[in-house]
Symmetry: C2
Subunit: 493 residues, 2 copies
Amino acid sequence: MAKELKELTSRSEDYSQWYLDLVIKAELAENSAVRGCMVIKPYGYAIWEKMQRQLDDMFKETGHVNAYFPLFIPKSFLSREADHVEGFAKECAVVTHYRLKNAPDGSGVVVDPEAKLEEELIIRPTSETIIWSTYKNWIQSYRDLPLLINQWANVVRWEMRTRLFLRTAEFLWQEGHTAHATEQEAVEETEKMINVYADFAEKYMALPVIKGKKSASERFAGAIDTYTIEALMQDGKALQSGTSHFLGQNFAKAFDVMFADKDGGRDYVWATSWGVSTRLIGALIMAHSDDNGLVLPPKLAPYQVVIVPIYKNAEQLAQIDEKVSGIVSRLKALGVSVKYDNSDNKKPGWKFSEYELKGVPVRLAMGGRDMENNTIEVARRDTLTKETVSCENIEEYVKNLLDEIQENIYKKALDYRASTTREVNSYEEFKEEIEKGGFLLCHWDGTPETEELIKNETKATIRCIPLEGDKTPGKCMVTGKPSAQRVIFARAY
Amino acid sequence: MAKELKELTSRSEDYSQWYLDLVIKAELAENSAVRGCMVIKPYGYAIWEKMQRQLDDMFKETGHVNAYFPLFIPKSFLSREADHVEGFAKECAVVTHYRLKNAPDGSGVVVDPEAKLEEELIIRPTSETIIWSTYKNWIQSYRDLPLLINQWANVVRWEMRTRLFLRTAEFLWQEGHTAHATEQEAVEETEKMINVYADFAEKYMALPVIKGKKSASERFAGAIDTYTIEALMQDGKALQSGTSHFLGQNFAKAFDVMFADKDGGRDYVWATSWGVSTRLIGALIMAHSDDNGLVLPPKLAPYQVVIVPIYKNAEQLAQIDEKVSGIVSRLKALGVSVKYDNSDNKKPGWKFSEYELKGVPVRLAMGGRDMENNTIEVARRDTLTKETVSCENIEEYVKNLLDEIQENIYKKALDYRASTTREVNSYEEFKEEIEKGGFLLCHWDGTPETEELIKNETKATIRCIPLEGDKTPGKCMVTGKPSAQRVIFARAY
Ligand SMILES: [Zn+2]
Ligand SMILES: [Zn+2]
């Protein structure tokens, strides 16, 4: 059994297959009967709940409140903002009817042609349009601003090629939609939220990210500026992990949302939107996990510690149970989530493999000799190392160890990124280097033409124009024209 | 301003209009641009978040985990269970296409006829079918059972006549879907969850409910037995507030879900499902609120205490600010949520009306004389009474007061229900009494024919066959035939 469980394709053999194996075998998600839609299984959903709770706290600490807007968007709303419709109207789920009826031949149910909607409804691919049509009624004066609203919701984008968590037709996300009296305030909000996402990625997901702006061609459809956090996966490919958009007055103009300012003038409202999704679970998996299974940062692990008893008979198990129950309560008192697995239908070896696969950060094992010696075996998931330590103050020991693991996972990802991020100065070199993966810092002339040429020839895209770091100007590696600063190129998910 | 805010239609004048006025003016929800779909505004959503958090904790304490299943259901799935399709296939949103394209005449976007789905997708009205099609792959043996899974999700039922929170095309809910090896265990689960709902209603919503079974004609489509909790609104009408269904083996048979039992035999799996929705917010409003606005039980109030300073000048405000900040921290330390509203663009009278309308359980006001005397004015939302008390230990005083308010709101609702619940022994009397509202305890012969006759003639339905209370047999008030026990009739939402 243990062997079968661990039968993951190795990363070096086939990274994509390794990812898929892991998602399935760690019971995170699976494909459903509906093409492109996934079922998020309880263990995967528990990770999402941890993410949600933390992000929601961070949004509330920065002054936001939650609300809920309709799933459906009238088709005509999409056309109101010219760029937006180009970006989102193409691949979407369209509701055309509101009733089924029994098939005349008794074969089941069919769409009732008499129940055709006058105007088709689109399942939201993102909610700017329905929300700004609502904000029109909520905003009259500067006193109504800012509006700082977030929504947790499902959205649908009809993707042709899907991959669990990374790209699915339906996914779960949050989308913040804020309204401001001034451009400056909206830009500050956009930047504040990309910083919140970066903090979340680094402190909770243990995932180092680079903050930057997207090039014009990679912007959100309808945005003036899109800020992004970009993470590096273990196969050297980038993963866009969160975006925050400065929307200018585009949606206010599209939905005619004006406000009376303090001086009696009237102006269109300034907007932002920002979101992260269940895609983050894909990022978490691909950044840290190994050929034995998941490696979860303690701050997002559904349970941080598992305890497994190793016993010869029922009497010995009873003794271990008693000893462990004290450890469990002391760990819980310190805020550590812990599972004691004394189920008797599975062997310790099977359990070890199972919890390794599931990425539980710390595994404690107690056997007969440990009982005698007042010791316990402590195994770290991140390093796969084991040691035997005293039960005295084990709870403090474990709590500190969890912090250490959180830091170590982050440091490992940071070291990997550092080792695969380099400056490249010629297009010849670029074509060679891009094959090796990682982030390439290059000069680019700022034109979409050059960007597209590079993309067509190398499959690499500009991940972002970094906000921090070296801002020295130079010359474009392709055209030799002036470049304001190096930008980050990579192949991406 | 204060007057305008308080302009609610009174309950005695027009209860329905009072409800609608209140939902709008207390900023709980509003109708959206999409027919039948509501926008849940931040204050309304904050109540839902409190409900969600508490229910989620109760589900987890009873051994359940969360997961997420697709929004879409293939049309053919609905036809698999004969009763289910009759109940749910009729009024639902149907996705027929997956792409839009630019209109040839440049007028916007139109549905792309080439992007027609082979099989239409239904937006889930409830998820039994998609979930049981998934459980088929998850359940092979008794070792895989029980499955105790809940999902928080949006669902869509194409209602023709909608009312905010009570009946909307899209609503938010949770749906539990469990799978068991034995009939007995499934029945126990069904009962356990109706008890969880009743506890939640009574302890958190301060809403007394009657637990019972639905008559056959009011059962969930596809259920063997539907358990319900029924609450009484202030206008004498009943509101079904939560249901828990024993589904027998119906869905297991429809989706061919069998398991190997301990003795090597094979049997279909036993099922339950159970749900509550944003409808509970409607129940909360209609059960407790008054002509001045919302009355919220402290355990579900977005903030439990508001503090308003009454000051002549900035200097005095600064003194009050300092005094109040100590009270705020001491309240927070006791776990009380509190808002200090020292905004200077609104007068105290306006604030008083606003927080009354919003149902904040306790309002504290501090003026110049209070400062001198070390006192503070305490106003209760439930009784609309005020008193001046010492600031000494005010936090303990308020904490106890919140408990008292929670109890008092429950007691008031319970007294009202007791005063309007009565036994009725003849159909003549019934026709008179039903006009007065309330719960009528009557004998009924158990047939759908008699039930329908009563419904057609009086608009009253059997709310439930109570699980507790008097079980003395008698004779049907309409037909004189034998009745096993009294059942509850009422007009209902
Ligand atoms: Zn535009
Ligand atoms: Zn049936």
